[in-house]
């Protein structure tokens, strides 16, 4: 998704190496996708449509 917009940054984070950040976002199962530093979370593999819907929900606010 990051490739489609200069507004998006996509970062894969190795959770065990950054425990403070993982704890702050309550990462219990992986993969977990966190949007805008905790504004939304999706646990598990997330289909493209669902992630798009989460982003649309956030930007509509």
């Amino acid at each position: 998704m990051a490739m489609e917009s200069p507004m998006i940054q996509a970062e894969m984070v190795e959770a065990t190496e950054f425990p403070e950040l993982s704890m702050r976002h309550n990462v219990s199962g992986v993969p977990q996708t966190t949007i805008n530093d905790g504004k939304a979370h999706v646990v598990g593999a997330v289909p493209e449509q669902n992630l798009l819907a989460e982003i649309q929900r956030l930007v509509a606010k």
Partner: protein
């Protein structure tokens, strides 16, 4: 240090990278402080880059290259920016890896390189259309573990 990737793995990577279309430039950010995986990650990235002429890497330090790290929004070490390159021009697509890409995540590194090299996200047209019109910044962080 001994080689991290064995000959079988290198052969497999070379086969997959045979389909790469355009140059990809990796920017590695390490740190001398509290970074147990920095050396291994740097070596791993350098070994991957060596498998294809279309790949290049520059090595930076979070502290001494702090301005560059800030410019590319890299705040963790080891941090990796996977960018496109045309001639001397580097184009950042916002694709990042933080932490060592080992185990399952090694595959993510390889796939990210392929995506950026092909300059194609593979997303469906509706998704692309919406994302093109985004006017607010979005940070997606995907937490993973190597196992």
């Amino acid at each position: 240090m001994a080689q991290l990737l064995n000959d079988d793995i290198i052969k497999q990577i070379q086969e997959v990278f045979g389909g790469l279309k355009n140059p990809v430039h990796l920017m590695f950010f390490g740190s001398k402080h509290d970074c147990p995986y920095c050396d291994d990650t740097r070596q791993l990235v350098e070994e991957v880059v060596a498998t294809s002429d279309l790949l290049s890497v520059t090595v930076y330090d979070m502290e001494s290259d702090g301005d560059l790290a800030a410019k590319y929004h890299v705040d963790k070490a080891p941090g990796l920016v996977i960018a496109a390159k045309e001639g001397e021009q580097i184009t950042d697509f916002g694709v990042r890896l933080s932490g060592i890409p080992s185990g399952h995540e090694f595959t993510s590194l390889i796939q990210d390189i392929i995506l950026v090299s092909n300059r194609d996200s593979g997303l469906n047209p509706q998704t692309r259309a919406f994302l093109k019109g985004l006017d607010k910044p979005i940070l997606l962080q995907v937490f993973v573990t190597p196992t």
